[in-house]
């Protein structure tokens, strides 16, 4: 596998969408190519850090209010089907 092929699979691998064969071949390429290994390392950590920050649980004080409003609406739907 050459650099171009290895980099074309970058996001499939980061997103765990690549086949086992591709993963193995890319790993084999990264073991001998420092440039590609550097790109993979930085891209993987950027993706992971963005995910961590986005998933960081926001305080959602309004959620309980929203939930009870929604359940109330479901009650109304149940009632109208009576």
């Amino acid at each position: 596998m050459n650099c171009q092929e290895a980099l074309s699979l970058l996001y499939d691998i980061i997103d765990k969408e690549a086949s086992e064969i591709d993963v193995a071949q890319v790993q084999e390429h990264l073991n001998r190519c420092r440039d590609c290994a550097g790109i993979y390392k930085i891209e993987e950590s950027i993706s992971r850090l963005i995910q961590e920050k986005l998933k960081h649980k926001e305080p959602t004080p309004c959620f309980d209010v929203l939930k009870s409003n929604v359940l109330q609406q479901l009650d109304d739907i149940d009632a109208e089907n009576c």
């Binding site: 963005i50 739907i77 089907n81």
Partner: protein
């Protein structure tokens, strides 16, 4: 008979509450990023849940309820909310160097983990703001993939897109995100701009 009707209704309500309602917090999280507005996000979630409940008999038990709910909400967003919340900034998507952030980070010097250092300084809110500014088409696939961990195929089903379109939007969405994060970090003095 009235009683058997009400039994049937409560069974529907019960299964909806145990299978669909637990996903409501995730729906709200994504709705906040899509609409960029608390009020609109809550309205969107409410509308989606009500629509899902009315169509609950069309949901096939045992299939992916979370993806089904996101599909309903995404459709409502695209049809009703999207024009209202159009992204304020237009970004030229084609004008991005492939390995933009990598190039910038690699040029920062020999320190270990320049990306880790950069990201330690960037706040959760900064990242959310950056996501909020992505054009809708890109933002939606980025949010569904990054925040909600849907697979490419699930995103294709949720948004009615070809698999290849999902992949290319996600790819370009990532590049946009990286470029904006870098610019943002420079603007706020988190990192020094590379001298060319």
């Amino acid at each position: 008979m009235a009683e058997s009707n009400s039994d049937k209704r409560s069974a529907k309500r019960k299964s909806f509450e145990s299978e669909a309602i637990p996903h409501m917090e995730a729906l709200l999280r994504t709705a906040l990023r899509m609409t960029r507005n608390q009020g609109d996000a809550e309205d969107l979630v409410q509308e989606a849940i009500v629509k899902a409940y009315r169509n609950w008999d069309k949901f096939e038990p045992g299939t992916n309820c979370r993806a089904w709910l996101f599909r309903i909400m995404t459709n409502i967003f695209i049809n009703e909310y999207r024009s209202k919340s159009r992204s304020p900034v237009s970004i030229d998507v084609d004008d991005i160097d492939e390995n933009y952030l990598y190039g910038q980070l690699a040029s920062l010097g020999p320190e270990n983990n320049p990306e880790r250092e950069l990201f330690n300084k960037i706040l959760d809110d900064d990242i959310k703001k950056t996501i909020d500014e992505l054009p809708d088409d890109f933002k939606m696939v980025v949010v569904l993939s990054f925040i909600e961990d849907f697979s490419y195929q699930e995103i294709a089903d949720i948004m009615d897109l070809q698999l290849g379109t999902v992949k290319s939007r996600l790819h370009r969405g990532r590049k946009l995100l990286q470029k904006q994060l870098y610019d943002y970090a420079v603007k706020n003095g988190y990192i020094k701009e590379r001298t060319r």
